[in-house]
Each structure stands twice: as C-alpha cells, then as structure tokens.
C-alpha cells in the first residue's frame, strides 16, 4: 500500500477514534495487550531475525541490545498498554469556559490531533508504547520504525491490530509505515494527512525531521544537561546530585553531560568529585583548571562542551562566577534540563530566571525530569522546543483543543 493510501486509512480511523468513549479505548488497550501477550512467540521469533541480520551487518552490541526483545521486555510492553487503560482520558476535558455578555457560552475542549506520525530508531518497544499512547489520546498513529527492526515491528503492529479489531476499532488506527528514505520524505511533507510529527531518537534523526518537515513537528530532546556547583553549594549534596545525574542511567537525555564548578568551590569540591567520578567509572574530559585538582583528567577538546556523551564520560570546567556559568550554559545548552547546586537564594533565583531550558533544577537531580517521575503515567518523549509542549509530554500534550460556542441566535453588532 502506498504511504498516501495508508495515511488516508489513518485519517478515516482517526475520525472513529475522535468520538470513541474512554471505555471503548480502554477496552481496546486491554485487547491489544492480550493480543500482544498471545503473540509473544511470534514477536520473539521475528526479533531473532532482526537481531541476526543486525549481527551479520556488524552492528555494535549496544545497538543490538536496544533492538533485542526478551520475554521480560514484551511483558513490559503488555503492562504498558494496560497501564494506559488506567490513566484518565484527556479528550473532552474542558480546559476553560466562560459566557459572553450576550449569553453565548464558550468552552475550550481537548480534542485529539487526528493523525500522529512517529519516526523512531531501533527500539521495537516504542512501537507498542507510541501506538498505545496515540490510541488513548484518540489519535491514529503512523509508526515509522527503523528498517533494522522491521520484522519485530511488523509482528508487534499485527498483534496491536488484532486487539483493535477484536474490540471493534479499526486496525488502521495503528499502522507501520515501511519503505525507504523517500517514504520518510513523504511523511514529512504530508500536510493535510498527518497533523503532528514526533521524531524519537538521536540528534541526527531529530534534526533531519525538524529541518525537513512541512508538517508541524514536536522536537524531542537531546540533552546536554549541565550541573553547576555554586560557591555556596553544600558539597555533599553537589556530589550526590552529580554522581546520580551522571551515572544512574548515562544513556538517557536527562543525564548530566557537563560539570561547571564555581572557582571558589573548586579547590575543595573538585578533588572529592574527581575521586568519586573515577570510582564510578566516569572519564572526565576537563579543562586545565579541572585537571589541576586530580589524576586521570582527559584534556577537553574544542567541541567537548557541545555534545551528548550518553556514556560514562563528563565534560568539566571551572567558571569564575554565576554569570560565567549562565553564559556557558547559554552558549552550549540544548535546552533540556539544567541544574544549580547552591545554598544562596539569589543565585538560585537568577539561575531559574535566566537559564532558558525545558526544566531548571535547584538542588535536585536532572534524572527527575521524566514523565514517570512527574507522575504522568505515560510519556511520549521530552520536548525541547517551546511551542505546544516543553518538557515531559504525556497524554494531555497529545491533544489539541477546540472552541465550542453555543448560543440562541446571537449575532455581532
């Protein structure tokens, strides 16, 4: 089927979903979970094929690990669908409402976007996750997974479709988009067919979509997240936050990538920090001012402060004051999550006001910037753009609104 045919089917399915009750959608999510659980053997067999192909191509083990499904990971996908059924439905929520002087009633009501396109990389668990979130929020999903996960994604989408059909909803509500790069280009140009595109993956994928798309995009985030240790910081707290933000899960976007230390704190903090980082297996890429305080600091290259390591590596620099820390972050931030550790109220307030990011943190780990930690129950990604949604995106962020005006014949004078 051509992409345009798929998208046309998705639009028709979206019309059904837009007026489906929460009960109908929740029943479908459970049916999808049942079908996916029943399809576990087929999904794992398909995944074996993908893993074998990837291995034959010499794919790195870290990427194969993301690609691989296990019974536990399939069970996680199944549980994720059931958990969505337990969450409130944002569709139909009245955001606000008032009555005009002439008696016309105005309500702003949450409605689904319609058709959501999701372009993502190797993890096949995203297929169930994104399909489920789209369905719960009343949207049809066009899922563009990577070719390396094709067999796995086909097996998962087939199971989700069986569940949808069993519950009386159109199986075209969740579709896998196959084909080469020209299909991705068609998706990005599909104004009128796709309402919103969400890329999930590395910086290269996200940039390609943001630069190329004519359809509105929600940019999800690369995170070059900084921890700034102020002169007045409680140094034990600074150390705890640094180690947690760097090492608790280094491969994610809210992990710390850069440490900035106030010059006044450096002589006491950096020797402890460098030792603790070394103990935790972290390689520090530091400026000479950092290297002066410990062993094993690798010299920071010229672009060292701009990227995401997503590994047990950390860029580090000493800054003369808060202004320099804010200026450094301003120059290098990706606008995800930025942290200050301080006991000074004025420093905290300036950092919060002047650092421009989806999240700013005072004396807490950036690992909390996460839909799950926020209590959202589901997360489609963390937006680093300023339009529509910024920060963790949950079910309400997967909706638009519509104004409903009800009168008794009022006209404008």
């Amino acid at each position: 089927m051509s992409f345009t045919e798929q998208a046309t089917h998705a639009r028709a399915a979206a019309r059904v979903l837009a007026t489906a009750s929460r009960a109908t959608k929740d029943a479908a999510l459970h049916a999808m979970a049942d079908a996916l659980a029943a399809a576990e053997p087929a999904v794992l067999t398909a995944n074996d094929t993908d893993v074998d192909t990837a291995r034959d191509k010499g794919t790195p083990e870290a990427i194969i690990d993301r690609l691989r499904l296990t019974p536990a990971r399939v069970a996680g996908m199944v549980e994720g669908l059931r958990a969505l059924a337990g969450l409130p439905d944002p569709v139909g929520d009245v955001v606000r409402g008032w009555t005009l002087a002439n008696g016309v009633q105005v309500r702003q009501v949450r409605v689904p976007f319609g058709v959501v396109g999701i372009i993502y990389e190797a993890r096949p668990n995203v297929t169930a996750d994104a399909g489920g979130i789209a369905l719960k929020s009343g949207n049809a999903a066009l899922l563009r997974g990577s070719s390396s996960a094709l067999q796995s994604n086909r097996a998962v989408v087939a199971a989700l479709g069986d569940g949808l059909e069993a519950s009386g909803l159109p199986r075209e509500a969740v579709q896998l988009v196959e084909g080469g790069h020209e299909t991705t280009a068609e998706m990005m140009a599909a104004r009128g067919l796709i309402d919103v595109l969400i890329p999930r993956g590395g910086a290269g994928l996200i940039n390609a979509v943001v630069e190329g798309a004519k359809v509105p995009v929600i940019e999800t985030g690369t995170g070059n997240c900084h921890v700034f240790v102020d002169a007045s910081a409680d140094q034990q707290i600074a150390l705890d936050i640094l180690i947690n933000a760097k090492t608790q899960r280094p491969s994610v976007c809210n992990a710390c990538e850069t440490l900035l230390v106030h010059a006044d704190a450096a002589p006491t903090f950096l020797p402890r920090a460098l030792a603790a980082l070394a103990d935790a297996g972290v390689t520090v890429h530091g400026t000479p001012e950092v290297a002066a305080f410990g062993e094993g600091v690798v010299p920071a290259g010229p672009d060292e402060f701009d990227g995401e390591y997503l590994s047990l590596d950390l860029a580090a620099a000493v800054v003369p004051d808060l202004d320099a820390a804010i200026a450094h972050i301003r120059e290098h931030t990706t606008g995800h999550s930025e942290t200050i550790v301080t006991r000074d109220l004025g420093s905290a307030e300036r950092f919060v006001a002047e650092v421009d990011a989806a999240a700013v943190l005072v004396n807490a780990s950036s690992r909390f910037v996460d839909g799950g930690e926020f209590g959202f129950g589901a997360e489609i990604g963390i937006s680093t753009q300023k339009l529509h949604a910024r920060g963790p995106m949950a079910l309400p962020e997967m909706t638009s609104t519509k104004y409903v005006l009800t009168g008794t014949g009022q006209v404008r004078g």
Copy 2:
C-alpha cells in the same frame, strides 16, 4: 545591518525582556504610545510616500486603503499600546504545580518564547500592534512588513524604539527587518535565532511560510467558514446568523463563505435567504438546487466551495442531510469556524463532535470567534493549526512554559 546581526541583537534584548517586571513593560508600553503619538506627523508623512508609490504602481484601491494611515488610525495604534499595558502579564503565571513523593517541588511556569518573528502584509498598524503584544509577553519582535509599507513601518518602529529607550529597555526589542525575499528566507531558516514565526496575511503568504520554514510556525488562519442550516433550524435565527456572518465584515477570516442548507429546510428557507442576501448586496454562487429557489443565483464553479471570497459573495449548496453537511465541510474546511443552526440536540452534538475546526458554533454567528469578542483584550491572530494554540491567540498564547524543580539534594533511586 545583516539579518543575523539584527537577530543577535534581538536575542540579547529578549534576555532583558524575559526578566523585566510587568511594571517595567507597562511603563515601556505607555512610553511607546507617547512616542508614537508625538511622531504622528512623521508617520503620516512617511505613509503618504508609501501611498503615492503604491498608487504610481497601479495598486488596487482596496489595498491602498489597508496601507493608508490616518490620524484616527494612528490614534488607534496608540490606544492599542495603552490597552496592552492594562492587561495581565502572562509571564510568571504558574500553570500548575505539585510536590513529588520525595519532596521535590515542581512548578510549570509561563516564560516568553524569546524572539518572535512576524511576517505580514500591507497594514502598517500591525507594526505597533504586534510589537506591543510581543513586548507585553516578554518577547523581542522581528517584524517583517511588506516593502509597500516600508516608509510607514520605519517611522512607526523608530517611534516605538524611542519609547523603549526612554523607559530603559533596549530599542532592539522591536526591530523592522528590511531587505528582499532572501531576507524572508533567512528568517524562515533562523533556527536558534528565532523561536517562533507567525505569518499574518493571505493564504499565499501563510502557505509560503508554513512550507518553507525550519523555525516553528504558528499558522494563522484563512477561513472558509460554513453555515449549515439544519432541517429543524429556527429559520429566523438562521437568517440572522447567515446575514451577520456574511455581511457584518466580509473581509475578515471569521466571515461566512459557504451556506449549506438541509434539503428539508430548502423550500422554506432558501427563498427568504436569497431575497435577504440580495437585499444585502450579496452575490450567491449556487448549485442548480439553490438556483431553483430564487433569482440572480450565479452558477457555482468547480472550485467555488474551496476559497475565501472575503467579499459580498457566498457559495451555496443544498445537502440531503447532516451527514452530507459534515462530509462537505470535512472536504472543504480550512479548520477555522464552522456553524450549525438547529433545534435538534442530537444534530448539534454530532456537529460539535465531528467537525474538526478551531471553533464550532451552535446557533451563534462565527463573527464571535475573535480575541476581542472572547474578552482577551489583545489578539495576535487566529490560529488554524493544532499545535500550541488553536483559535484566537492572545497574550498567554505568546508564551512557552518552563518546569522549575526545587529540592534539598534529592537523587533518583
């Protein structure tokens, strides 16, 4: 100055605005109003030059009328700036907040976008209006007016800059972007320099920006707005709403462009409606079923149901039932404002649920879909896209949000 230099100055100004208090911004708005009032002679002289040039080029009178400034229009711009000073400041509003189980406090706070680019056509009053709205919401504005209004826009922006400077804010907070089409292309590609682009103007301009921009865009609206007269409609109400929506101000986006009449209502409604429309000077472009009920109906061409007339013209068709009306609107809507006139609750509910538009109206004129009528006090445009803002956009819609997390050393387990 190159566009990149201008945008860099705008970013620096935006940092100042982001932390400016409401009192500072309101004082600046009054100072801008004072400076614009004082500059009235210079603005009118500059405008005379633009009008003379336009006339020499054979510009149509309707467009010259939009271009022309008068003492009353300048006074309107001045009053608009003062009115903005009286409105609440959205920046700093806490949208929601909660505390995590571990004691970390989370607040979602409104913050300015940063730098807003506005690309607009001949009306020079937009210059003061958009500059003022941007300033009140804490954003720097890069205003890309049309070359036909260049002298007027320069004079207005110079006055606004004088007011900004007099109040201690950077004059680069409101800048006019000059230059040819290549400058517009630079604006549309200016990721990292411009946070949001808002095109204001006709369908051609808006499409060019939406298709070409790499910067996030808020699409403001063309409106092919429909009035559907259901079988059960109170026909006097239907007539009042139709005439009001079509004729009260035909040149605006929330005016009615297409009439659809239920077949059961046609024999009684259309004769009255056609007579009343003719009395109001409206030319009806109708299908043969419409023409059967009155004199002077011009046959509707094949694309007649797709465009905006923005004039005293109206497309008209008879539809067999509500389903056909919804299907017709689905095929031809621009997603702005769609109206049903009915006494049937089920029809009203289906129309509201199934028609996908920024606003849906039951028994009220679509002319109410307007920031002023909604009581917003200011309006930058009416969004017809689904991301971020849909419908009339006021000051809160000119902001993003930021999550602020405050802890006492909490880390993730």
